[in-house]
């Protein structure tokens, strides 16, 4: 350190300029270090710390500008304003980054805070330790340079670097606690974000003041602290009080602040022991690895890590073990309209596990089934102490029981009438099997979700159902024929009888008529028998031969006549 100050023993301006550049270089180094640590470990906390160092860099830049202005352009009005512009820009940057940090801290995603592996934890720890050392050295260097050349700006900057030291120390402590499983990264990040916000606010305030009063406290040769205190008295603005609160107060009551910090860290540490038990849970509390008590829902306290810990067991909710399928709770796509047998394999929120689903039945057929077993945790302590993964044990057991049970049923009965029976038997078997294992769970109910023949034979099964319909169709058609034919036949029979009646009537009347006519005729025939015989004979002959072709042939003619319809053909022999 003395080596540095000896070299700077030229003119005050050159020395201050050199010191300013050194400060900026160190700040850049710190930012790079912390930023790369944040990149390696993925921790938002380290990123916040890097941003805090960025604030320091901003202040160092402002100091550099102020030195330049003071010595080189003391008479140039416009050049003086450059200092204020730089401060303003840096302050905006810092405020923005602090808001970004706030949103990250208050957001719901905690992944960026807890370091994932031991290696990254160690790297971060070593990196921050290095940064702490560098900050301590640069702090002392700045203050010495400031004292030597009576530059209050440098003294103030040196003091401010203390705050960087404190934040980095906080990060260091957090990392140490993280090693023991106590995670206060989020709170530390919040604190650092507040610090970044304060620096930003401070710079903004100074920049604004610079434009108003045409001169800054940073550059002015007077003492900074009385100036700040004077300012408190002058302005009662609450905002400004909050902005300038830390620095003035920290410098005034240094011991108290350190004590309060320790209290805060201790309080935060003890606070990690509080935990909440939800209505469906039971909290199993342990101290030095031994189960101490079981806690019902509500707020409870356990000895903080690494001395004690708590395991929350879901005792209220009915847990379920699935066989043959899994439930995709986060399924977002459209579900099929109905879970047909084919769809349960390919679509929807219940993906199949074919290895579990397909089983051999008693008649050596294959069946595809989804089964569900509900269980609840009866004894949380036994559950915690005797199994690492009770769910997996139950799944295997359930798979065994399902396959063993299906192995002595017939396929057709499994599909239809024996479902209830299988369900009851499975439940009985599971209860018995679980009783043998000391895992603290009890079976609530077993459900046969769905069973169907393997997808490869489903078309044939459906075809059988269609054939059954076809059978009914054939029978119905025959019945239709029956229903069509019989009434017709009955009608026909009726018609035949009626016809017979007609015949009777006709015959009767004809006979009676003819008889009457005969009687009438014969009464007059007898007296004039010869007359009537001749008359009737001729009348009849005449009538019969009337209008008909008549051929008269000689008696000795040796001819034969062939008559074929109307056409006559004669042939002479």
């Amino acid at each position: 350190m003395d080596k540095f100050t000896a070299e700077l023993n030229l003119t005050p301006f050159k020395a201050l300029l050199k010191a300013s550049f050194i400060a900026i270089a160190v700040d850049i180094f710190l930012i790079a270090l912390k930023y790369s640590l944040a990149g390696i470990t993925g921790s938002t906390m380290l990123l916040a710390d890097a941003l805090h160092s960025g604030g320091d860099l901003g202040i160092s830049l402002t100091v550099l500008v102020s030195i330049l202005v003071k010595y080189l352009f003391a008479n140039n009005e416009k050049a003086r304003q450059a200092e204020g512009v730089v401060a303003l820009l840096v302050s905006f940057l810092l405020l923005l980054s602090s808001f970004w940090l706030f949103s990250d801290v208050l957001g719901n995603e905690p992944a960026g805070f807890v370091l994932s592996s031991d290696l990254s934890l160690v790297i971060a720890f070593l990196g921050i330790s290095l940064a702490l050392g560098v900050i301590l050295v640069i702090c002392r260097f700045k203050r010495r340079v400031g004292e030597k050349y009576h530059s209050i700006a440098f003294i103030a900057e040196g003091m401010h670097s203390h705050s960087d030291f404190f934040t980095s120390f906080g990060v260091w402590c957090t990392l140490l606690l993280g090693y023991f499983g106590v995670h206060i990264e989020r709170i530390t990040t919040l604190v650092v974000a507040v610090a970044v916000f304060c620096i930003g606010g401070r710079l903004l305030y100074e920049a604004l003041r610079f434009f108003d009063l045409d001169y800054t406290t940073i550059v002015r040769g007077n003492s900074l602290i009385p100036d700040v205190i004077r300012f408190f008295k002058k302005n009662n603005s609450m905002m400004i009080k909050i902005l300038l609160f830390p620095e003035g107060l920290i410098l005034k009551h240094k011991g108290l602040v350190v004590f309060l910090n320790i209290c805060l860290v201790a309080g935060l540490y003890v606070g990690t022991g509080f935990y909440q038990v939800l209505p469906c849970q039971t909290g199993v509390e342990m101290l030095f690895g031994k189960v101490m008590e079981m806690n019902p829902p509500g707020l409870h306290f356990h000895a903080p890590k690494p001395f004690g810990n708590v395991i929350l067991v879901d005792t209220g909710a009915a847990n379920r073990v699935e066989n043959g399928f899994r439930t995709d709770w986060d399924y977002k796509d459209e579900e099929p309209e109905a879970y047909l047998w084919e769809f349960t394999h390919t679509q929807g929120r219940y993906p199949k596990v074919p290895d579990e689903a397909i089983a051999i039945t008693g008649d050596e057929n294959l069946i595809d089934g989804n089964f569900l077993c509900y269980y609840s945790i009866r004894d949380p302590v036994q559950y915690v102490l005797n199994t690492k993964n009770a769910h997996e044990i139950l799944r295997s057991l359930f798979c065994y029981e399902v396959h063993a049970t299906l192995g002595h049923y017939e396929l057709d009965r499994l599909l239809t009438s024996d479902r209830e029976k299988v369900q009851a038997e499975l439940c009985r078997k599971m209860v018995k099997a679980v009783e043998k294992l000391p895992i603290g769970v009890e079976i609530v109910k077993v459900y046969m979700q769905e069973v169907h023949p393997p997808i490869e034979v489903v078309p044939q099964y459906r075809a059988v159902a269609s054939t059954r319909e076809k059978k009914n169709e054939i029978i119905h058609k025959a019945s239709a024929y029956f229903n069509d034919l019989l009434p017709r036949s009955r009608g026909k029979a009726q018609a035949l009888l009626l016809e017979a009646d007609i015949y009777t009537a006709e015959k009767n009347h004809a006979a009676q008529g003819r008889a009457k006519s005969f009687l009438l005729k014969q009464r007059h025939f007898l007296p004039y028998k010869a007359v009537h015989q001749a008359r009737m004979w001729w009348e009849t002959v005449q009538e019969a031969m009337e209008n008909k072709p008549i051929y008269i042939l000689p008696g000795d003619a040796e001819r034969r006549i062939y008559l074929t319809g109307n056409k006559q053909e004669e042939e002479k022999e």
Binding site: E364, K388, S396, N547
Partner: protein
Amino acid sequence: MRKGYICFAVIAVVLLLFYAMCTSVVYQWEMAVLMSFGKPLRFINKPGIYFKFPRPFHRMAKFDGRLIMLQPKAAEFLTADKKNLILESAICYKIADPVLFMKTVRDKKGLEVRITDLVSSHTGLLLGLRELSEIVNVDPGKVKLKSMNVELTRLMRRDVKGFGIEIKQVFIKRIMLPYENRLAVYGRMNAERERIAKKYLAEGEEKALVIRAEADRASRIIIAKAKSRAAVIKGQADAKAMKIYGKTYRKNLEFYRYLRALEAYENMFNQDSVIILDDKSPILKTLFSGKHK
């Protein structure tokens, strides 16, 4: 004041380091072996905080004493009646004696390899003594799966005696046919369905034929009955007519014969008849001579 804080900080850091390096918490579900350069010094099976020298001198090897379900990959075996089956077994065990465990199988991975070997060999052995019908059967009394599991558990317990673990249960979790056999079963199932479908169709045809025949029978019987009745009715009508004719014509048989002959003449000729007469025909003779007879 400043010194006080520094002292406080130093003590805090030292305590933390001491806690981190020289103590070890054994949870209630754990067992631990305190070791010094690989030599077991003390076996711990009670929960609590234990002191030890830092890392290179002492090491606390911890073992999870909770139940673990080991599920080796499924493997194919033959039954006594030469049928292929894929069996997947599951072994529920826990570590009981960590020192023995470390001595014989070294770590969990070593144990799992050995258990997998053993269970595969025993499963093959036991399945080779049983027929498929003893694994799956419609008659629950004939299924020997449970006794096979008991036997398997017994054999496994016997063979892992030196491993420092306690086997709770071993069972055949899953039984499946190899892919080709599964296809064959699907083929058979399809054929069976076809048989049922054919049966349904034939049954339908059977019923339909009966119904049609019944319809025909009923219809024909109705008509036959009607015809017979009609015949009777017609017969009665004829009889009645005959009676009337008989009564009437009996009164003058000669006139009836004459009338009937004339009637027959009348009806014998129709419009298309051609009449061929001999020139010596009595009709012509009578016509031409003008004398009747």
